[in-house]
């Protein structure tokens, strides 16, 4: 609904964040029910920016089916649930994707024993696919375009997909490459599975907010940008205090609120970005802690490196 | 047993249909206070329907029924008034099986007449004594014999202190041994001067207490007479036939 989400959130003193029901690395509750992951970090950063406390978040697990409705009906304030930014979602579904926190693409994972090295060799294969996702459409389009046939095995959740794939009920498992990596990482024998080189789609994943509340959209957008910019400028959770006290870089000063009054333009105080970064670190830190190469998920930065490193992560200037 | 001049029930030109079936045809009947009337007639002749019309368990479609000066229309207040003046005892007792005998008797006084519970219980015990089963007060109806149940039903009606009592074949569901207990209770009531209308085939009872016997057939009152005349000297052919069947059995 159109309205003042910022005021609502402040009044409620809690951010309601729509997340995945469980995708290791991106959003999953641990054994005690505490949520952690790459997407969760975005929620925490927004909560820190707006409410001053990264723990003031209520996580609402949403399924592929319920996520957009949850957002558009006002049930959640922000959807940080590895959702692909597409034209129709942005327009027809009346969502606003505020940016990209992960550049992904749909890929295939197969068992090494299958002897397949390219997706082009998958003609006639059985492929596990989560229903109700864009991957389903991409898959259909890809095989149609390449004049190949396949047998879909529709599954309801990622957990189901893993089960099917591991039992050999499908030759290939397709989902976003990040998801494939996460899934493979969880296998007992990750070395026996390969992710095929073809990436058949562009899957920019990012947080979304409701259409219409531009200020709220700005807040989430710039919180995300702050995380990305922080990495670019070398602001980390460890040197945050130090830099805010004595950084000479005007960009950093503006970012951390030591000069100019950027926060007020969005109805926040000046330290919003500082708190957002303090919540779980800058973009790079979050990446490394949740899905990076040191984690079981083991994703390389790839497209998600800073633009300065040859990646696509590019935060507009803070001024 | 004195009959006053005051009119208790007046039924005039009353007709009733079930769908298109004409059950009661042009009934005219005046009952005076203190009168005891027995209605007899073959099965399906409309006896039950007639007395059920008197306390508006059934609606009549034309003519008038005036009970105690109150005309029965669809006005709920009138119906309520009439029903609290008129007690009714059914063939199958229709006691409330989930309540004790005492609760059966106090339910209506408490909830309809708004009598305090204590007082209602005292009254109930008085009437239970009258029907000779005060010791059963805390039992449930299911634990009583048929005759006892019917007497509880009578006591339950009496607790509302009605001025008129209607009985619809009160003994026909009872085993022969129990019929007597119930008839005795009814005779006692009659002796106290209660206005009564009773559908029954107990001709002994009719002869003992009735002021008038009404014979119905095919929804009409065919003959009315004093019991003596009715049994010894019936006028209509139908009555004769009926009496021969009843008495012959």
């Amino acid at each position: 609904a159109e309205g003042d989400t910022l005021a609502e959130v402040k009044a409620r003193d809690e951010l309601i964040c729509g997340v995945n029901t469980g995708l290791v690395g991106f959003a999953a509750p641990d054994a005690n029910g505490n949520w952690a992951g790459f997407d969760i970090a975005v929620c925490k950063a927004v909560a820190a920016a707006v409410l001053g406390d990264p723990s003031k978040v209520k996580y609402v697990p949403t399924t592929g089916q319920t996520r957009f409705t949850a957002l558009s009906s006002g049930e959640v304030d922000v959807l940080a649930r590895n959702s692909t930014w597409t034209y129709s979602r942005d327009t027809d579904l009346k969502l606003d994707f505020v940016g990209v926190n992960y550049y992904d693409g749909q890929g295939f994972m197969v068992n090494k024993d299958l002897g397949v090295t390219s997706a082009k060799e998958l003609d006639g294969a059985t492929i596990c696919i989560q229903t109700g996702t864009t991957t389903e459409l991409n898959l259909a389009d890809y095989f149609r375009a390449n004049n190949m046939s396949y047998q879909p095995v529709n599954i309801d959740s990622n957990a189901e997909g893993e089960q099917q794939y591991m039992a050999g009920a499908c030759d290939a498992y397709t989902t976003d490459a990040s998801g494939l990596a996460a899934t493979r990482a969880a296998f007992a024998d990750p070395e026996n599975h390969i992710i095929l080189p073809e990436i058949i789609s562009k899957e920019p994943l990012g947080p979304a907010v409701r259409h219409g509340d531009n200020n709220w959209g700005d807040i989430v957008r710039w919180t995300l940008n702050a995380l990305i910019a922080a990495e670019e400028y070398g602001v980390t959770s460890t040197n945050l205090e130090e830099l805010s006290a004595n950084s000479a870089n005007p960009e950093v000063q503006r970012l951390l609120g030591t000069s100019d009054e950027l926060g007020a333009m969005m109805g926040l105080d000046n330290e919003w970005a500082k708190r957002a970064i303090a919540a779980s670190g800058n973009y790079g830190e979050i990446f490394a802690a949740t899905i990076g190469e040191q984690t079981p998920i083991g994703l390389a930065r790839g497209l998600n490196a800073q633009w300065t490193q040859g990646g696509l992560m590019y935060a507009p200037p803070f001024r | 047993m004195q009959v006053s001049d005051e009119v208790a029930i007046e039924i005039a030109n009353m007709n009733k249909w079930y769908g298109t079936f004409h059950v009661l045809r042009d009934i005219d009947l005046t009952v005076h206070r203190g009168e005891r009337i027995v209605i007899a007639g073959p099965s399906g002749s409309g006896k039950s329907t007639l007395i059920r019309c008197i306390n508006r368990l059934e609606e009549h479609q034309s003519g008038r029924i005036v009970v105690d000066g109150i005309e029965l229309t669809s006005d709920i207040k009138n119906i309520d008034k009439v029903r609290s003046e008129v007690g009714m005892v059914f063939q199958h007792f229709n006691l409330f099986p989930h309540l004790t005998v005492l609760e059966n008797c106090t339910l209506a006084p408490i909830w309809v007449r708004k009598v305090p519970r204590k007082q209602a219980e005292q009254t109930a015990m008085r009437f239970l004594e009258k029907v000779k089963i005060p010791e059963q007060a805390n039992k449930y109806p299911g634990q009583l014999s048929g005759g006892q149940q019917q007497r509880v039903a009578i006591a339950r009606s009496l607790c509302m202190q009605p001025r008129i009592m209607l009985f619809d074949e009160p003994t026909s569901a009872l085993d022969p041994e129990m019929i007597k207990e119930v008839l005795d209770t009814m005779i006692e009531l009659a002796e106290e001067g209660m206005t009564m209308i009773c559908v029954t085939h107990e001709m002994g009872f009719a002869q003992a207490v009735a002021n008038r016997v009404i014979f119905m057939d095919q929804g009409q009152i065919v003959e009315q007479n004093s019991p003596k005349e009715f049994f010894n000297n019936p006028k209509s052919e139908r009555t004769k036939l009926f009496l021969s069947q009843i008495l012959g059995h």
Partner: protein
């Protein structure tokens, strides 16, 4: 009757024959076998078939059960233990996952130190149900109450309930046992208060919220009481209006003010911390408790001779019964917000409970309608003849009897609904069967355990549902006997 024949000579027995044991082949184990297992060719074939089925099941599953592992940290470790103990090819059950995660299957993400709260709330449930469900036999009610009390207290101690709570629980439970022995109908008061008490114990927060609801209802009742002499109709309207007005406009603020004056709160729990059987039971019990009054109203409406009322009830009941529960759950999660004023946003569990209630109410209405139909017409007529009005007749005469007859049906409805609570997983809640299991399996340690969680949750569902169905069968038999 002239020709009496020689053989009709009168006969009189002077010594009675004693009982004699039956011939040998009529008794003994062999006879039993012959009569019950091998009485004919078809029977023999069936016996052999039955034995084959048993053999098949045992031979396939025995090893697996025999090779159970209870102590391990992950599935891999389980497999290693099995391989080490029973050889490389051995397969075995890894119950360690249940051992490690049982609390999540039971309580979801409810804080561990507060487990005693659901346990006590659940124990109180039996007290609340005792006067309704176990009124048939004093002995059973006594056993149920005592066992519930003992189990609640023992379990609470085991999960480390603080002393004041233990004392509170003990007082209530022992009090209930005593009251039940003395004057059982008084327990109904507890039953009436239980919904609020249960909600407060499960969700926590300020007790003033519940108390202000109670106060609103009490004031509404007072309004009814005061005006009932004027006109029953006005009284009902006044009562409902007062209650609603208080609930909508006063209760919330009053509760907050009182809370700030005299804090009376316990740790508040969010709905998203509910999961596992706690979630199932909460939804099931709330659904049944709420659907009962709604079901009664629907049943009465459906039996009404007012055309419009009747048709509305029919349409509602048939509509709800005609669509799968899962679509109603989707309505709860996807559409309910469309139907409510913009900006309203309320708890998903509450929404699910609303839909489950509506769903159960439609079935309940049919069950109760059956009970109403089973009452002889004479009961209605007697009530009429005594001058009781419609509502009094319903409340005092008809419903008490009809509901009693309907209890077995109500219990069956509850069993069905309780099983259906597993479907909430499809709207993102953590039901014990799939929600919690998927969550447990999302962890690296337990990826790949399927059968153990299935068997564990299945067994618990079986125990609960089976005992309830036995209970309802027992009631059914009893009621049948009573009616003759």
């Amino acid at each position: 009757m002239s020709e009496l024949h020689a053989q009709t000579v009168p006969f009189v027995r002077d010594t009675m024959l004693p009982q004699q044991p039956p011939p040998n082949r009529e008794t003994g184990a062999l006879h039993w076998l012959r009569a019950n297992l091998f009485s004919g060719p078809i029977n023999t074939i069936l016996t052999i078939l039955g034995l084959l089925i048993i053999w098949f099941l045992v031979s396939h599953f025995w090893d697996w059960f025999a090779h159970s592992v209870w102590n391990a940290e992950s599935l891999t470790q389980c497999r290693e233990i099995i391989a080490a103990t029973w050889g490389e090819d051995a397969r075995g059950a890894c119950w360690a996952v249940i051992r490690e995660r049982w609390h999540q299957y039971m309580f979801g993400f409810y804080p561990r130190e507060l487990y005693f709260r659901p346990i006590i709330a659940f124990g109180f449930l039996f007290v609340a149900l005792a006067p309704v469900l176990f009124s048939e036999s004093v002995r059973i009610r006594r056993i149920v109450l005592i066992v519930a009390a003992a189990a609640t207290l023992i379990l609470s101690v085991m999960v480390g309930a603080p002393l004041p709570w233990l004392v509170f629980a003990a007082i209530v439970m022992i009090g209930a046992v005593v009251v039940a022995e003395r004057n059982a109908p008084w327990l109904l008061i507890f039953s009436a208060l239980y919904p609020l008490l249960g909600v407060w114990m499960l969700w926590g927060g300020s007790a003033w919220g519940e108390l202000s609801v109670l106060a609103s209802v009490a004031l509404g009742w007072l309004a009814w009481r005061l005006s009932v002499r004027i006109s029953p109709l006005i009284a009902v309207i006044a009562g409902v209006a007062v209650t609603l007005a208080l609930l909508l406009f006063v209760a919330g603020d009053a509760a907050e003010d009182l809370q700030s004056l005299i804090p009376l709160d316990i740790t508040a729990i969010d709905s998203d911390q509910f999961g596992g059987f706690l979630l199932s039971i909460t939804i099931g019990v709330a659904g049944i408790a709420l659907s009962l009054p709604l079901g009664i109203i629907l049943a009465l409406a459906r039996r009404s001779d007012m055309f419009l009322v009747n048709k509305l009830a029919v349409v509602f009941i048939e509509f709800i019964r005609g669509v799968p529960l899962i679509t109603l759950l989707f309505v709860a999660s996807l559409l309910l917000n469309y139907f409510l004023p913009p900006g309203t946003n309320f708890d998903i569990i509450l929404r699910v409970i609303i839909m489950v209630t509506i769903f159960a109410a439609a079935y309940m209405a049919e069950v109760i309608r059956g009970g109403l139909a089973a009452l002889p017409k004479g009961q209605y007529e007697a009530a009429d003849a005594l001058g009781l009005d419609y509502w009094k007749a319903q409340r005092l005469i008809i419903l008490p009897q009809a509901l009693k007859i309907s209890i077995p049906g109500i219990v069956s409805t509850f069993i069905g609904m309780f099983k259906d609570t597993t479907l909430v997983v499809f709207v993102g809640l953590f039901d014990p069967l799939k929600g919690i299991s998927d969550f447990v399996r999302a962890n690296f340690a337990w990826k790949g355990v399927y059968w153990e969680p299935f068997i564990f949750t299945g067994a618990i569902f079986f125990i609960i549902c089976f005992s309830m169905s036995r209970y309802s069968m027992y009631l059914e038999r009893r009621l049948q006997r009573d009616h003759r």
